[in-house]
Symmetry: C2
Subunit: 545 residues, 2 copies
């Protein structure tokens, strides 16, 4: 049995475009000898469509596209993901997260998702009604269990037992020879390994092969990494699809291999390729072919520029270095060195004159009051203003360059360095920014070593260093991981050996800066808990622990 | 039977403060002769706590506070809302939305919410597991059905049949003499009337009285309006609590009245009082005692200033009028007239010099390119920068003044006039801004009539008028209501008689500006569908209809 896996990149809401992508992948798989083709979850729709599904014509147009697509399909079937209606008078949510088995010009089977994730970045119970039953499908003498994403995630791989249903068990009890899974499973560091382990365990437990087809592509904050899999009945990985790119390949799930297919990608490489894909898709899917950004001479803007140059082409990136009275000459030089290494354009404009003009404008109101963080923020906001002007004039996507550590504790200026349509590295803790930058320089200098080696500084007052305000980054990041990603209380973190003053300072800063993050640009998610749609904190609140 | 209704204003996560509020209200009700006291949904926690519940110490501290509170309660019972654990090894979500019956120093009953809204602004299936059964509670010879918020919302009052459970029916079949409901039901225009009708119908259908206790207070984008109710067994409203303020009152639900209690509040009055409460609570609950804002001489900033002066006291409001080369002298004069009427401070600073300085800074990059929207945005962003400087220097909450119509079509500048911690009137369509402003002037001029009567203008280029770019506001608002609030397609809106070109222009503008709204300040919600947490659209998407 030859199954074609179409690891494709759909665009949310683009029914005609997604239908075309599906047909092209279908034909490619047939050319490779496929007898059945599988595509990702909601492949016709893009994942996640979010509240678009409530638009009165969204699901009708989706069903039209499904009919059109079915018309293009001959005797070799394809499984595509789409959104179906739930019965209008039966209680429950209005829609189904569905898969259609298309064959000979029509929809032969409809399968509905049973387990609907409603945690982290997922909101499926907002839209979808779960399937009441799980039924194997007979085809060519085999009984196939068709599942959609979460349906295959077993209890041991979730934070707690979430569901009172187990689709794999239900299917298995009815007798199946194989499991197919249509997924749109977003990336975070460690997720590809986790999926291999989880799907391997499912195959091994039930002694049947599993074909797992995952989406790829960036969608707002989410990055779908592909890494589709075929696991043999012995639980061993027979096929490991590449990450972060489209791929079509035909495999026989019943043909077991001796050697396990490996996932040969280290952490910084995965992070880098995830961010390149996330940025490229954010820009291109929303119609931008170029980007601009501020270059400070620091490591955050340098890494962001490197990712942007890779994603959109160096000729499409415009950097601005905007020295203030407090900037070192080295920062400007480092920016130009970076631009040269990357082959991107860089211009220098001084913010000295606007800064003086703005201070003068506010002079009568501020008379007698000492300079403070107000004047630091002014500089960052003038830079944001200049970058937005460049973005407006030349239709660039402005990239904001802040990292997760500074966004967490609010060591960033709203409407200043936070300006931009996309926050490329806002889910990378500073220590990871260094790690990825060093990895990027593994063969030759891309990010100037001087940028990597010097002490980080915002350069908003004379001789300022990040560590005047912040704890050392390895301390900060370790505490942030416990506080933000694992929701531990300050007492618990202190009990693990961290300094009480530092922990309480970080907790207060993270909580106080919720309002800034509320207005932050969407940031590409690469950890288990990014700021953004997966973390929904109230702004006004008085809990501290 | 005398029941005390404690319509109180809790603060999210403030367990000690909320416990104090509950005790004070409990004592006030006892002083009035209460035999049983009821408080709102999650009254000990504040609603909604959102992802705070995932913090490892949140629910433990909540349960500690509940124990403390129980210790303060003697023979007269009180019902309080709290978050409970779900059993760690039973499948489902980790928590319960719960009510505790406190009596004689301990928790005598625990009731769990059955219907968990997961639509619009609500995310309850993200956190909570529904109750499996609904059990009446016997007390003083009466059988009481205790329900939490959504539990009482009958199918006919929802968009579609959402649930396969009906808690009122389940309780009613077991025999009850009365229904109590603990609610945290947020305001939108028409909601108080809807609740009266819905709760009246429940009481009438089951021939039993209903005591409905709603929360009041602002919480981020949500405004809880109170308007608690007591409905007799005949379905008639016996008691109508006030809106938008705390109130404790003792009533006998079995004593029917001849005359129905009325809700004597017109639309603009409700909108105004909702926004005053929303702004006051946002500021005070997050520690701000003062606010600043830009005064343009236009109606949006004028109404925002009036609401702010009412909410925080005129002596705590600082307005800036910031004329540009394109500002009319009348705009500055209107701003000072407004400030005089309100008794707030107003200062004038010209943006002419910073505007020239910024244009000069970018001159080398923009040479040969004509002035365009870039230079318009520069002016708005300089104003945003000056306002943020004032906010930073004097620790004011900056209020942003945009209305819903302009936010919908993106007729506003990100990092410019969109700067601010709270968007006070961002859910008021422009036509409602006029309506509320006229209502505010019903006895004397508060908003200068000149501001109300002149043609609206952003004054970012010579002789600019809003209607050079936008359709007339009554046309725009009517189409926006159909498109944004009711999710109709352009074809459906055109079929109702609107101009096709205008409808398609609006649709395109609304969709294209999703990215701006993603970075907007939280806006106080007063319609059925505000931009913000109740409307979750992808930024990158290609659906248009």
């Amino acid at each position: 049995m030859k199954i074609g896996i179409a690891q494709i990149n759909s665009v949310v809401g683009d029914f005609p475009g997604n239908a075309k992508r599906l047909i092209a992948a279908y034909r490619e798989c047939i050319d490779q000898g496929a007898e059945l083709v599988i595509s990702p979850e909601l492949s016709l729709v893009g994942y996640p469509p979010r509240d678009l599904v409530f638009k009165s014509s969204f699901v009708p147009k989706c069903l039209q596209a499904l009919d059109y697509l079915a018309g293009e399909i001959r005797e070799i079937p394809i499984l595509v993901g789409y959104v179906d209606h739930h019965h209008p008078r039966q209680p429950g949510k209005p829609f189904r997260n569905a898969a259609a088995w298309l064959e000979n010009g029509s929809v032969r089977h409809r399968i509905w998702k049973t387990l609907l994730p409603t945690y982290d970045v997922f909101d499926e119970r907002r839209y979808f009604e779960p399937s009441a039953t799980c039924q194997p499908i007979e085809w060519n003498g085999k009984r196939i269990g068709i599942t959609i994403c979460e349906d295959i995630w077993t209890e041991e791989y979730l934070d707690r037992p979430l569901y009172d249903r187990d689709p794999i068990k239900e299917l298995s009890e009815k007798g199946i020879d194989m499991i197919l899974n249509l997924s749109a499973s977003p990336f975070h560091l460690g997720k590809p390994q986790l999926r291999r382990s989880m799907i391997g365990a499912v195959a091994h437990k039930h002694h049947i092969p599993v074909v797992y087809c995952n989406a790829i592509g960036g969608q707002d904050q989410l990055i779908f990494d592909g890494h589709s899999l075929v696991v043999g009945a012995n639980g061993r990985i027979n096929e490991q699809f590449p990450g972060f790119k489209e791929a079509c390949k035909v495999i026989n799930p019943f043909q077991t291999k001796h050697e396990e297919a490996v996932l040969d990608d280290c952490d910084p490489s995965q992070l880098y390729h995830a961010l390149v894909l996330g940025l490229r898709d954010y820009a291109q899917k929303s119609g931008f072919s170029s980007a601009c950004l501020g270059l400070s001479g620091g490591i955050d803007s340098a890494l962001t520029a490197a990712i942007a140059a890779d994603a959109l082409g160096p000729e499409n990136i415009h950097g601005l270095t905007m020295p203030s009275p407090y900037s070192s000459r080295g920062s400007v030089e480092d920016s130009f060195a970076l631009a040269k290494n990357l082959g991107i354009r860089c211009d220098e404009v001084s913010i000295r004159a606007p800064f003086e003009s703005i201070k003068k404008t506010m002079h009568s109101l501020f008379e007698g009051k000492p300079e403070d963080v107000t004047e630091e923020n002014m500089q960052a906001r003038i830079r944001g203003l200049l970058l937005m002007a460049l973005s407006n004039k030349d239709n660039h996507l402005l990239l904001t360059t802040g990292n997760k550590s500074e966004l967490a504790v609010g060591y960033c200026t709203i409407y200043g360095d936070m300006c931009g349509g996309l926050a490329v590295i806002s889910d990378l803790p500073k220590t990871r920014v260094y790690e990825v930058s060093r990895w990027l320089n593994r063969e030759r200098e891309i990010i100037p070593w001087n940028t990597i080696d010097k002490a980080p500084s915002a350069e908003l007052r004379p001789n300022q260093k990040d560590q005047d305000t912040l704890p050392p980054y390895d301390t900060l990041d370790a505490i942030l991981e416990l506080y933000v990603e694992h929701h531990l209380s300050t007492d618990e973190i202190i009990a693990r050996g961290s300094d009480e003053t530092i922990v309480r300072w970080i907790q207060r800063r993270v909580d106080l800066n919720e309002w800034k993050r509320h207005q932050a640009a969407p940031g590409l998610r690469v950890t288990t808990k990014a700021f953004g749609i997966g973390r929904r904190m109230p702004i006004v609140q008085r809990f501290s622990s």
